[in-house]
């Protein structure tokens, strides 16, 4: 779900970045955050609420609301809406509070 044509913005030719979501290899683009790359792949559910385990997606996309926390390369509670995507990132849905590194 990338924007193809835009009357004002030109997103140019962005390099492909390969990463893993729940163990499966998918692609994002240079300049993506983890959350924007996932969204471009149609992934909206990023985690689960702590007690009722309801699905969670991002809300603010600028690092305020903590609704986008995921496990990235083994580290819990990463704000994926403001964390830039890197080649080979292992991104997982977070279902619990997570722990310290």
């Amino acid at each position: 779900m990338r924007i193809e044509n835009h009357p004002i913005l030109d997103f140019g030719n962005r390099k492909t970045i390969r990463f893993y979501f729940e163990g499966k290899e998918i692609e994002g683009l240079e300049g993506d955050t983890i959350a924007s790359a996932l969204h471009a792949n149609g992934v909206k559910v990023l985690g689960e609420s702590l007690f009722k385990h309801r699905p969670r997606g991002f809300y603010c996309a600028i690092g305020n609301c903590s609704s986008c926390l995921m496990k990235v390369n083994g580290k819990s509670n990463v704000k994926t809406c403001v964390t830039m995507l890197e080649e080979g990132d292992k991104v997982e849905i977070q279902k619990d509070k997570g722990g310290l590194e």
Partner: protein, 365 residues
């Protein structure tokens, strides 16, 4: 401990302008920004600004960042830019604590601090409001205009204020269908010029309507709206159901005020300013000496006035620490009259009466 003359928390429109005027007064400035680049929410404003030429009217927000950064470049020798760093603490003795890249923690002792942290998007209460696919309107703007990603296929916009109207237009520009815009108020809150633009594109605007519930198993699939009466009470049997995979919530912003509260600044809830805001003197100084504030963090308004407030706070903070700009009086007068112009409309009257509730005068202090 790291030192500087003036630390500015937040590199958005208010913070950048504060940096320009503080640096032009001769102060050493450190701009601390949590993102990996400066500009804040300007970077996703693809529309042209209103206001007057002095606040870059008819220039797109995305281009204003560049203009301000060029200005800052003139003072390269005394402006330090600290990106990817969160200010996690602000203390009464003006020590701030910083976390760089979520890993390196350190302290800084500036002579003065300008808090220009901006705002966050409000949320709305209805059943299943936590379903993925329900996003802040600003979030959707970020996703589209910064990362080039569409939020979905069909969108319901909740809120017909300027942000709701502008983001609806930008969604259509990105090739996403907006099925309707709704607002609980009996009339459209945003400028008529924006409303006419989206109506011309065929987007219906339902006033006196609110969200009853969201429906979906793991993601948003449908949204149910219903009509409200003059007291904002829902009227049964007026429901309309939309097949949408995205709902944008655009029901206003609140000041990001945590650091000001933490420092012990006296705060007050002012509805005209959209939340808890610090009491302040006419020089933008809070009740804690040498802690200043500007922009949305001290009252929700818009980017043009945030920039002018930033210029003023920067001048005053520099003056407070003994770096008075050679044309201090002139500039203060000019920026003050710019602000008065920006606030001359009906919306501005609300802002002014809000500010009146929190402005302290030295004589009575």
């Amino acid at each position: 401990m790291k030192t500087t003359d003036i630390a500015i928390v937040g590199g958005g429109p208010a913070g950048l302008c504060a940096a320009i005027s503080a640096a032009s007064s001769g102060a050493r400035v450190s701009i601390i920004e949590r993102n990996n680049s400066l500009g804040g929410q300007l970077n996703k404003q693809t529309h042209m600004f209103f206001g007057s030429e002095k606040q870059y009217a008819a220039t797109r927000g995305i281009d204003i960042t560049g203009i301000l950064l060029n200005e800052i470049k003139k003072y390269e020798d005394r402006v330090e830019i600290i990106n990817s760093t969160n200010v996690v603490g602000l203390y009464e003795d003006q020590i701030i604590t910083l976390m760089e890249n979520e890993s390196k923690y350190y302290k800084m002792k500036p002579e003065a601090i300008i808090v220009a942290t901006g705002a966050y998007e409000k949320f709305l209460s209805f059943s299943n409001n936590d379903l993925p696919g329900i996003y802040g309107a600003g979030a959707v703007q970020t996703l589209m205009n910064i990362y080039g990603v569409k939020p979905g296929k069909r969108v319901l916009m909740v809120g017909a204020g300027n942000i709701g109207l502008i983001v609806s237009y930008q969604l259509m520009q990105a090739g996403v269908k907006v099925v309707a815009i709704i607002d609980a108020a009996p009339k459209i809150g945003g400028y008529l010029v924006h409303a006419s633009k989206v109506r011309r594109m065929g987007i219906p605007i339902y006033t006196s309507h609110t969200v009853k519930e969201a429906i979906g198993s793991s993601e948003l699939e449908k949204a149910v709206i219903w009509q409200v009466d003059g007291n904002f009470q829902p009227i049964p049997n007026t429901e309309t159901i939309f097949d949408v995979d995205v709902m944008c919530i655009s029901v206003g912003l609140s000041p990001l005020n945590e650091l000001l509260s933490m420092a012990g600044c006296e705060m007050k809830y002012v509805s005209f300013l959209s939340g808890f805001v610090p009491y302040r003197y006419s020089n933008y100084e809070t009740t804690i000496s040498n802690i200043f504030t500007a922009g949305d963090s001290c009252g929700i308004e818009e980017a043009s006035s945030a920039m002018v407030e930033g210029y003023l706070a920067g001048l005053h903070a520099a003056e407070k620490i003994g770096k008075r700009h050679p044309s201090f009086e002139e500039r203060v007068q000019d920026y003050t009259s710019q602000l008065n112009n920006l606030r001359s409309g009906p919306e501005g009257r609300h802002i002014l009466s809000g500010i009146n509730q929190i402005e302290r005068r030295r004589d009575y202090a």
